[in-house]
Symmetry: C3
Subunit: 473 residues, 3 copies
């Protein structure tokens, strides 16, 4: 029976005792860090080394050092803390490694460095062993000092379930939570993971930086340089706040509309094709996949815009102008009339901005992993789609009210260029118009049918007795 | 041994090979989406269809199509992507389905549409098979394109553990994390899940909207209409900011006290009954269960209040009034004395508000799932109860200071109605008074004993050797 | 074969039926609450009691009450809801308890109350049984009403894997998610968990409070008392806002630098020792472990600082001063010149503050558990280290610009004491300087090599074929 239990229970039960032994190949930094952690977790640790005697001095106290062959025989689980280039030393050990679980911890220095994943390469070298990829996504810090805030999760993959369970058991004892990601074919993905630095953020960040730079220089010319050339007035100090407070909202609004444009385009594409079963072009797919990042960056800029706006009255320049105006009013004995329209416009403008920002923040919060995981997809799509478009609407209206009637006065168009807020209104207006089209009853009905699997000129092919999905885009 | 392994290992090991076959009944949208995902995850997919030949054309490339009977025999796991109304076609297949795992993916269009859950109905039709409910909480998006931000979690339930493990194994390979929710009796719950749209938020939202509307009209009459009728002054523009900035704090404060009132009431009820073992009335239970939502909505209104307050100095109206005052001061050669009391009052009023809002935000952050999960219940109750009541105290004091001595001057009571901030002070004051009563030593002692299981006139029944819980409400 | 299945499947399959029976020892509050939950989850519940008849009246309806011996025999799983002091009543039941799973739910009133953990003590009393520690971290609320926002996670530990699986199965059916923490030796840790109240926050909070108090009194003397003594002017009202708005930024900046100082010190220590394999002194370790808390508190103070700054223009005092100035300007017929330098300085000062705060918030968000878990350690360290130091840089520059040339004018040094912002600049400047040293190519190279396991005068010991870790501190 035991042998059955051996095969069938999560492996930690096999050696369910303090004296469980684990083997580590490689006495480098990773090997030593891991060995230390294993000892602390109550394992017996045996190091496999080419020169047991020379290296022993360095190793954590309490660990045993043997030659590779002897070490391999001493344990069922062997951590391979050796660089891929040197895996070949394992080939002669084929016999000792037969049936053993080899954990491949290795990472590469850059992506696609080798034709196949290190773990797959290892498996091909030692076919008799059961290779499991894992732990490689952990930081040095986590492996030496246990789970940190950054890494509690350990990802593993491999062909054999028992082998994976054995590794999961060790991970749990080391204080990590392990997730089985499937077959060894996933190894490549796991090996690329630690190399990535915000891959999904690349494109959105580039867009944000590009837009910021473009509008910064555009406004620099229109406002500061224009003033200098035409009235030879130096108002360069405005760069720090006034200009920043123009760039932020502009970029924010454009990014927000960029975040809702792909969904609209996709709908029109489906409408045009009359089916949902043809893949979207790659550029559209990529675009759709970075909507979240686009939205969060937009929120960031909106946040800065709010701060920049709120500090206006604290600015020396503003205080100075205000005083100047009052003083001149008195000296020249002028009086001003309270203008109801300005009051209405100004207040609505501010109010719309506040409500828009409120919704903005709500969208941001619901895109936190722990929050969105707690939502049913109907709830999630309600917030991200319905409230999202409402946010876009509010922010666009906010900007239109800001422009107000200045759209008409020619003085607005210095050097025949439109001000920034006009430029940034184009995209959101388009998105909102298209969305408006999509929610008109007739169009919406077709879209919904298409999303439920209906295909133009293919109705009879989709028997009524089959289950369909509600739409969500 | 294989047969043992078959029964005993997480099922993915059974077909531990690329060629594992899964069967899908129903060639509708859901069936096709799922089939595509399964193929991508390396499964062999066999569709069961009434007209294998007609439907095949539509199905994802690489999938096989057979008649239902043949398809059923080809795989151990069968996804039922067919509407409940048509389940009966499975009855004649009873033999082929014996011992198979049937995954019920179906959802209903509205709650309690049928006497029993679809999955239970399916089980009753095919008693020989092992029915597992699952995947139905996923969105179209997730099922077609894999886990999205919104859905990574898959919930399943069923009677047989092996069957559930088989389904979990598939879920993991598709990139989801599966959670066993228990027996098939849970199916109804799982089937209702996708239909829900913020069920716990309904009541709090209604309260919030109701309060907002009520106070909006109340203040509309007291401020704008009153001014128009008595002094025929049109100050309607104030609706956008001034009025909004009165409604928000009022609603926020009332909601916050509504969030702490039920706890206080519950304590008094226990005190009155002298036991904790009698259930609370339903209305109180429901109320207690939506405290979190009440609090978060209150935070939302507080957030808007802060923004509305901070933009005050940017407003045209405010700027105009300020200038006017200064100008008139000079023209009429008046001078004003610096009033120390006003300075003290104004600054403390602002400072209390800021501190209150700071705590408010802290409460909001700790109610994020990932944060509250990391807290021990003692820590959680410390923040939500102790700090929560402190927040209420600060915000109430903030409002009292705002009112200051205007409580006395009759001019405050236009048309004999009290201003909004007075009305909104009633509830928080009551809550704080009751709470004050509860924390007086003598009362607190009794409450604690009751919460530890003591019952008035029943001491001898609760032997000292039994474990009691610390209190938390 | 069944017996195999019995041993090898997650134990819930053993009693896979509604009538599964679980036993609860102890009819106290905890026992009854738990019993109720178990009944609701569809278990058959048998209470073990010293006086079955007397206590039955109190117990949840549907539960059975027997003597301890009889109860023990009726179920495989027994919850021990009895205080440790009374465990000895189990000794005579040794035979009935042989092979049973005993779940120890007990908590202590203070840490290290007993030489060994309650669960270990229990195991020593009943060696024949399989003791599992668990559920003790749950709140009364959660145990009675099911998973609350605060507690969804159940931690368990024990020697036997089957026993643990049995308990996990129950936990899942009760709606909790259970995490195996390893051997019974972890029990002590689990028993201490519910007693803890923000242990990692203690030190940072003390520092924050200490600093706040110190600077409050320092500034109280320098500003308010100084003004009173030298010019007998009462400006005590400034305490509420002006003073608070000086204390907050000062404490925030110091705390932020305290959060990055230990990392820098650690690097220099490693540089000095020429190895990473000697442990850091305890004080440094403790310091490093509370960096996150230090940072979050610093963010809190920065948040208050922002609010205090933004309300400045709403203050009565500020309005009064502004008017006074304007009035006097006119009466004395003075005119002011617009000072470009002041404009530049003021705006840059504000702009730096805003950007700094923006990054501050970003750091805060990424330290949310659910967010940081989604990051690879490379991403996490990029944000927390790179962006973190950038934040420190921005905030320090912000403060320097605030001070500007006042560093030179003697009038700044009332009573020969430097103003607060000068004092708070010392630490961040030091940290930034040291960090600057560390990132100079030559030093950085050495550090990196050390972090990769290289040791001064020990190169040959670290064979090239061993795997090294990228650095992260």
């Amino acid at each position: 029976l035991n042998s059955v239990v051996f095969l069938t229970l999560p492996v930690d039960s096999i050696y369910d005792s303090r004296s469980e032994r684990v083997c580590v190949f490689g006495t480098g930094d990773l090997g030593r860090s891991l060995g230390l952690r294993l000892l602390q977790a109550g394992y017996g640790v045996v190091f496999g080394s080419r020169r047991p005697h020379s290296s022993s001095s360095l190793l954590p106290h309490g660990a045993q050092v043997l030659g590779h062959a002897a070490a391999a025989q001493s344990a069922h689980l062997i951590f391979i803390a050796v660089q891929r280039e040197h895996y070949d030393f394992l080939v002669p050990l084929a016999n000792q490694l037969k049936g053993k679980v080899l954990v491949d911890l290795s990472n590469n220095l850059k992506k696609n460095q080798y034709p196949e994943a290190n773990a797959e390469y290892l498996q091909s070298l030692v076919p008799g062993a059961e290779v499991v990829k894992g732990f490689n996504t952990l930081s040095a810090w986590s492996l030496q000092n246990g789970p940190s805030d950054a890494n509690r999760q350990v990802y593993i993959c491999g062909e054999s379930v028992e082998a994976k369970q054995a590794v999961i058991a060790v991970a749990i004892k080391l204080g990590f939570s392990a997730l089985d990601r499937g077959f060894l074919s996933v190894a490549r993905e796991l090996e690329d993971f630690p190399l990535q630095l915000f891959p999904q953020w690349r494109l959105p960040l580039r867009i944000a930086i590009g837009l910021s730079a473009a509008f910064f220089f555009y406004l620099l010319i229109r406002d500061i340089i224009y003033a200098y050339v035409t009235q030879s007035k130096d108002i360069s100090f405005r760069i720090m706040v006034s200009l920043a407070n123009k760039v932020c909202p502009i970029v924010s609004l454009i990014m927000l509309s960029l975040c809702y444009l792909p969904g609209v385009l996709a709908s029109f594409l489906q409408l045009y094709r009359g089916t949902k079963y043809r893949r979207f072009p790659d550029w559209l797919d990529r675009w759709m996949l970075c909507r979240k990042q686009l939205g969060l960056l937009a929120l960031g800029f909106a946040f800065l815009h709010v701060l920049y706006t709120l500090i206006i009255p604290i600015r020396y320049y503003v205080w100075f102008k205000a005083t100047e105006r009052t003083v001149s009013m008195i000296r020249e004995n002028r009086t001003t009339q309270f203008d109801m329209t300005t009051a209405w416009r100004g207040d609505s403008y501010l109010s719309l901005g506040i409500l828009g920002f409120g919704l903005y923040v709500l969208l941001g919060i619901t895109s936190l992993p722990s929050v969105s995981n707690a939502l049913s997809w109907r709830e999630f799509s309600f917030i991200q789609s319905k409230l999202g478009h409402l946010t876009l609407l509010l922010c666009t209206a906010h900007t239109y009210l800001y422009g107000w009637n200045r759209f008409l006065s020619s003085s607005t168009y210095k050097w025949y260029t439109p001000p920034g807020y006009m430029l940034c209104l184009v995209l959101p207006s388009v998105v909102l118009l298209l969305k408006l089209l999509l929610i008109t009853p007739c169009v919406d009905r077709t879209i919904t049918r298409i999303r439920q699997g209906w295909e133009r000129g293919a109705d009879q092919r989709n028997p009524k007795d089959n289950l369909s999905l509600r739409h969500e885009l």
